[in-house]
């Protein structure tokens, strides 16, 4: 590839620009790959071509199927060459090309030959390549060699086989599990990394067998572990065993081992052990002390990674055991000026958590100096820490609020400003004394705020909180200034806020009218419309004043369906009060949920609350009583179809409501009158009572349609429902976004939906099953035995019954030890009608894989016990 150096007219010299791959082209390299087919192979040249191919792949170029196949086939020819260097490159590129199953066959024999070669490097690499590209059928052929390789005296070969085993365990667990004797032997290997890999594989093979893992840990903690990595692994296993052993009294098993690891010579082991100790559940301060001591030493290490590791762990500890960390405060304070800003930020937030009331002021002073030279993302972390500090020490709100308002005035991006505003809003909400000063800070902020979103949100918030203060008039000036100085969006928001003051504070009404009348001449029609509407509803234009209730609905209600021109006279009650998008809350990442302004003042509601509010806002469902349970959404469409629909089953005592969440994914369509036609012919106990369509479903805007069924009281009626989406579809012109006048009626078949017994059961755990069981008493105990027939395994049978009943497994009894012949599983839940239910399941499996089950139910209501048995016997 003779490439002339391209001379560039920039200030960098050509030397720096030089690259052997300059001007490389895929087509040309693929041409070059023909040398692989030469009868006389030139290993060096072949290696170079492979390097070029790898370079292309590494830079993100991709080969078409045909290209990849062609390259692969010619690469297979290179197995003829005896050149070691070339062979290495051949191994590498085969892994990168990830050949398909029929192609793999071509290289299998070559690789198997290499697997049995005398050259260790061949053996090790051939194993890694073959295991990477192989499938289950081939694996049985090579299994014998792999087992040998695991105990090979060459550590590289053994490690290659073990690591491959770890990967294969994901796809072919039953085969890899047969290797456990060899792996066990490899755990005793004298080679450090072989031991590490063997330990990793052995634990994964046995992860469902708690006893075996516990035995493994017991023997290894007494023996010698050679590599620090293996020691770290052992610490993790030990923590897991401790977590699962659940002994609440007496000395914690293996604590001594963890503690001894704090004196290990490798830093990674010391840190792993310290972290493991801090994460023990219910850790005592006596247990914590030695771990905190070594972490404290790390805080003043010269290595940034150690400082970071220590401060990150202490930061977590500070959330649960702030007192234990206070000893490190002096070291922590010196980290505020650490060059690594991640360390500095973690140090500050830790100090904010561990600090006491008296140290707040000093700390704030230090942070003020620090804020100017860190990035926005770190500032957000600090702001959040200060918010929680303020909630912890409400008396200190003055200095913390001042700090927030100071940083609010400084330069910063949107996310940062939003975090500050959110924090102020939360403080106003939770600390009554902070309200007045907080609102004034926000008022000052909007005087010079470049973010329309924040301005409108603050104006909205002012409209709700401002009128309730002692002197609402002082906010008016700030709000009215917006009408003069800002863009139309902010002006419109300001008009609404003024109207809210007018509606809530009678004394201000006349002055508000004057201001609103001025807004009637605004250049923007939305601003004018709002001003006119509010003047009208508040009675400012001398006409009949509407009822107070209507005013409040207009100003404070959740009306977000756009109005359309109509000949009929307008009636506010006819406007649907749908809370859009709220049920979608659970789909968003929890961290992204608006915590301050966006969320309702009571804090973000849980999903159930959200559903309950949604349903109770719909008049048709208001007499259904209290919502018992809402299922998680069940998808009724495949991913990426024209319309995405999922359904949530809401269970009431005598009703079931299906909430269909629909999204129209076609930009060129507007759907109207969207409803779901439900055929309940396979659900005899259910009778449809009402349904509620979505009027309009524009592109990519979630909408909900509901269908409600009545069912006999207290009976766990089950059945299957088939669903069809029916709607009127209108073409939308993508350039203008306007829909055509005429629509066509259409239907779209959805998947079936089932109501099962588990829908009537809420998963509610108990902390101590035995106590709960004893105190429930035998009065309403129902015991019976069932044959479950041949099952795949005991574990499969147990999880099938758990899913059938929809109850919460207690005390980890859902996990079945591998190879065990019997198992006891404890379940707890609350049944329809708020009846507590406890279930004890005893399983046994026979040689022919027949599973038998004894089911004992205790509940507060005899009928519920029978219902549980009925669920099991009917399925």
């Amino acid at each position: 590839m003779a490439q002339p150096l391209v001379k560039k007219d920039d200030d960098r010299d050509d030397e720096a620009e030089y690259s052997p791959f300059l001007g490389i082209e895929k087509g040309a390299v693929l041409q070059e790959a023909r040398v692989f087919n030469d009868p006389q192979l030139d290993p060096r040249r072949c290696s170079q071509v492979i390097t070029k191919l790898l370079y292309l792949l590494n830079q993100g170029d991709s080969f078409t199927k045909v290209e990849a196949t062609e390259v692969f086939f010619s690469v297979t020819k290179l197995f003829q060459s005896k050149d070691l260097g070339l062979r290495r490159m051949v191994y590498l590129i085969i892994k990168e090309l990830s050949p398909s199953a029929d192609e793999v066959i071509i290289v299998t024999s070559s690789l198997m030959k290499d697997m049995n070669s005398k050259t260790d490097m061949y053996r090790a690499n051939a194993i890694r390549v073959l295991c990477r590209i192989t499938d289950g059928t081939l694996l049985t052929q090579i299994e014998r060699y792999l087992k040998q390789a695991i105990v090979d005296k060459n550590p590289v070969v053994a490690s290659a086989a073990l690591v491959s085993g770890i990967h294969l365990l994901q796809t072919n667990p039953e085969i890899v599990k047969r290797w456990s004797n060899e792996v066990q032997e490899a755990v005793q290997s004298r080679a450090a990394l072989v031991q590490f890999h063997a330990l990793a594989l052995l634990q994964q093979i046995r992860q469902n067998d708690r006893l075996a893992v516990s035995k493994l840990v017991t023997s290894l903690t007494r023996g010698t572990v050679r590599s620090p990595l293996a020691q770290c692994l052992l610490i993790r296993y030990t923590s897991q065993v401790i977590r699962e052993s659940n002994t609440q009294t007496g000395d914690r098993p293996f604590y001594d081992f963890l503690e001894s690891c704090l004196r290990h010579k490798a830093e990674m082991v010391i840190f792993e052990a310290a972290r493991a100790i801090t994460e023990l559940s219910g850790v005592t301060s006596r247990e914590l002390t030695p771990a905190i001591t070594v972490l404290q030493l790390f805080l003043s290490s010269s290595k940034p990674v150690l400082r970071f590791a220590a401060v990150r762990t202490l930061n977590k500890v500070a959330m649960t055991h702030p007192m234990a960390v206070t000893n490190c405060n002096i070291d922590m304070e010196s980290l505020i000026s650490d060059q690594n800003r991640s360390i500095a930020t973690l140090a500050i937030t830790t100090l904010l958590k561990t600090g006491n009331e008296s140290s707040v002021d000093r700390l704030m002073k230090q942070i003020t100096n620090f804020m100017s030279d860190i990035a926005d993302e770190f500032k957000i972390v600090v702001v959040e820490a200060i918010r929680s500090l303020c909630l912890k020490f409400p008396l200190k709100y003055r200095s913390l609020m001042n700090f927030l308002s100071n940083i609010l005035r400084e330069e910063g991006g949107f996310e940062y400003k939003k975090a500050i505003v959110d924090s102020i809003v939360i403080l106003i909400r939770d600390i009554p004394e902070a309200k007045e000063s907080g609102l004034l800070h926000l008022c000052e902020f909007i005087e010079d705020c470049e973010f329309t979103y924040l301005s409108t949100q603050i104006l909205h918030f002012l409209g709700i909180e401002g009128p309730k203060t002692t002197d609402p008039s002082k906010y008016i000036r700030y709000i009215y200034n917006r009408v003069h100085l800002e863009n139309a969006t902010v002006r419109a928001a300001a008009v609404s806020t003024l109207a809210k003051f007018g509606a809530m504070v009678d004394a201000l009404k006349p002055r508000i009218f004057v201001l609103l009348r001025r807004c009637i001449f605004d250049s923007d029609d939305e601003v004018r419309d709002r001003a006119t509407l509010y003047l009208n509803t508040l009675g400012g234009d001398g006409e009949v004043v509407e009822t107070d209730k209507d005013v409040k609905i207009f100003l404070f209600g959740d009306l977000d369906i756009p109005l359309e021109p109509s000949d009929e006279s307008f009636d506010i009650d006819s406007v649907p009060k749908e809370v859009k998008s709220q049920p979608l809350v659970e789909k968003k990442a929890p961290g992204k949920k608006p915590a301050g302004l966006g969320a309702p003042p009571a804090g973000p509601p849980s999903t159930v609350d959200a559903y309950e509010r949604l349903l109770s806002s719909i008049p048709e469902f208001s007499n259904f009583g209290k919502l018992f349970k809402s299922s998680s959404p069940v998808e009724l469409t495949e991913a990426e179809t024209e319309y995405a629909v999922n359904v949530v089953k809401h269970i009431f005592d005598r009703h079931v409501v299906f909430q269909y969440n629909c999204i129209n994914t076609i930009p060129e369509q507007l759907l109207e009158n969207v409803s779901v036609i439900v055929d309940a012919s396979e659900a005899e106990d259910f009778a449809e009572v009402t349904s509620k369509p979505v009027r309009s479903l524009p592109y990519d805007t979630p909408g909900q349609t509901f269908v409600a069924f009545e069912k006999p009281d207290g009976i766990t009626a089950v059945g299957k429902f088939s669903n069809t989406l029916r709607f009127i579809v209108k073409e939308v012109d993508p350039s203008t976004g306007e829909a055509e006048e005429d629509g066509v009626e259409d239907e779209y078949q959805l998947e079936d939906l089932e109501v099962v017994a588990a829908d009537y059961m809420m998963k509610v755990g108990v902390s101590n099953f035995r106590n709960a069981w004893e105190s429930m008493g035998e009065d309403f105990e129902r015991v019976d035995e069932y044959g479950l027939g041949p099952r795949e395994s005991l574990a499969e049978a147990v999880s099938a019954v758990i899913n059938l009943l929809g109850m919460q497994p207690c005390e980890g009894t859902e996990a079945v030890a591998a190879n065990s012949r019997s198992h006891t599983c404890l379940l707890s839940g609350v049944f329809l009608g708020n009846v507590r239910v406890l279930v004890r399941l005893q399983f046994g499996i026979e040689g022919s894989r027949d599973v038998a089950m004894k089911l004992a139910v205790r509940s507060e209501d005899e009928a519920v016990g029978d219902a549980i048995h009925e669920i099991v016997s009917c399925s």
Partner: protein, 176 residues
């Protein structure tokens, strides 16, 4: 539950954030676009720091990134949020030192591209599918360079010898 220490990616970027070599071991970044976006984010976040004497560390998108710069090359290793950062730093140090041995101390972009095959083999010897294979730079470099000898270059006595032979064998340019 995943207990085994896991490396999510190994990156070698140049002083402008361009990829010299990269290997991703998990599905967090499914497309090349996503990979490049991550590389850019990592590079931007770290470029102003001084990671020349010691391995540095930061958090990015719920990942821990450890990094070290040598001349015009930026070395990165990413692990999950719960990963032991000291382990990641050990792997990174092994990577940096092994590259130093293989490039005979001339750790710079030009050399790295010249001997890209060695760099790629080096990454291949450090991590396999996210699992750490080896962290000792001498052993890693020994395995990469063991090309030309009948692979017993693993014992440290013969290592320098093996490396010398290997270098001789490999001392050629891709330009002809």
């Amino acid at each position: 539950m995943e207990l085994c220490p896991c490396v999510k990616n190994i990156l070698l970027l140049d002083f402008e954030g361009k990829r010299v070599a990269a290997k991703f071991f998990c599905d967090d970044w499914p497309t090349n676009g996503a990979k490049e976006a991550f590389e850019k984010a990592v590079f931007n976040k770290t470029q102003k720091t001084n990671a020349r004497s010691e391995v540095e560390v930061t958090m990015l998108e719920n990942n821990i990134v450890v990094y070290k710069f040598v001349q015009d090359l930026h070395f990165f290793i990413t692990g999950g949020e719960e990963e032991n950062e000291v382990i990641l730093a050990t792997v990174l140090q092994g990577f940096v030192d092994a590259v130093g041995l293989l490039l005979r101390g001339n750790v710079e972009k030009r050399e790295a591209l010249e001997y890209l095959d060695l760099i790629l083999l080096c990454i291949d010897e450090i991590v396999d599918g996210g699992i750490i294979l080896e962290t000792d730079a001498n052993i890693i470099a020994g395995k990469v360079a063991s090309h030309s000898t009948v692979a017993d270059g693993l014992s440290e006595q013969t290592f320098s010898q093996a490396l010398a032979t290997a270098r001789e064998h490999l001392a050629r340019s891709l330009l002809k």
